[in-house]
Amino acid sequence: MNRFDHQWRKLITLARQAREGNDPASPFGFATRVASLAATMPPASPWIGFERVALRGLLVAAALGVAAIAFDYSNIFSGQTDEYALTDPVGEILDLS
């Protein structure tokens, strides 16, 4: 056990001796107020967690899009395009015959 562990154990052991109060009952009127408020609220969308992730995903996708354009900038604006050989394998075979 290093010095920090010893110090932390000592402090935390002492802190644990300070008992917090017993679990209290809810304050008067609290449950009624919460139940009434809940009754007026619509159910949460099951997608609520997904929406948070989706927003982050959208931002990441946008950043990737910008990065892709930035890295390919010269090709886009130089007017040069890669020319792919459009070969027809079946045609080539027929030509050979």
Binding site: F4, H6, Q7, W8, K10, L11, I12, L14, A15, R16, Q17, A18, E20, D23, P24, A25, S26, P27, F30, A31, T32, R33, V34, A35, S36, L37, A38, A39, M41, P42, P43, A44, P46
Partner: protein, 195 residues
């Protein structure tokens, strides 16, 4: 939560049918559980009753999503933990930890712990607890929660995992990270002059 005779499944069923009395009973039944979590993770300047109310409202609005995969109190405690963490995150800044922010008792306890000069007295327990909370305030909300449950409340890794929904490896990683940060904090405090 002390009432073992409480018919939780029956109550939930009635709440789903929009029974206001059942909703009140559910709040009263779960209040001790929720307020315990709120108090142990209470963000500064946030009234505990307001935070507890937020947690219960989330519970009611998401009730249809509860599938029974975990016990209902665990499901509610996860909502409570997430709400507290969100609240802590919203506050963003944790002020720098300084000797000057400590009360006389807290500074004395810290001094005794750091210098190991002499044993602290049992009467210093409250000051020690406040001091621990102030130290934990310096951690990320998730890390703080893990250390609090692990060291203060002496929960096992499995129990923390159940309460938070984090897997056990993540809990261990967070505990390790938190202890490293606390160690750094202790070193800094030892290096600083007690004003």
């Amino acid at each position: 939560m002390a009432d073992d005779t409480f018919d939780l499944p029956g109550c939930l069923e009635r709440v789903r049918r929009r029974d206001q009395v059942a909703a009140r009973e559910l709040v009263e039944h779960l209040y001790p559980l929720v307020i315990r979590i709120v108090r142990s993770h209470l963000p500064r300047r946030v009234a505990e009753e307001d935070l507890a109310q937020d947690i219960f409202l989330k519970m009611f609005t998401r009730l249809e999503q509860y599938q029974g995969a975990v016990p209902f109190p665990h499901w509610v405690s996860r909502i409570a933990v997430t709400t507290c963490i969100d609240q802590l995150r919203a506050q963003k800044r944790r002020p720098e930890f300084r000797w000057a922010d400590l009360s006389e008792n807290e500074a004395e306890v810290l001094d005794n712990v750091l210098t190991d000069a002499h044993d602290v007295l049992p009467g210093d327990a409250l000051a020690a607890r406040e001091l621990v909370y102030k130290l934990l305030d310096q951690l990320k909300p998730e890390d703080r929660l893990v250390i609090q449950l692990l060291d203060l409340e002496q929960k096992t890794i499995a129990e923390i995992s159940a309460r938070t929904g984090w897997n056990q490896t993540l809990v261990k990683v967070r505990a390790f990270r938190a202890r490293r940060k606390l160690q750094k904090l202790f070193r800094e405090l030892q290096g600083k002059e007690k004003s």
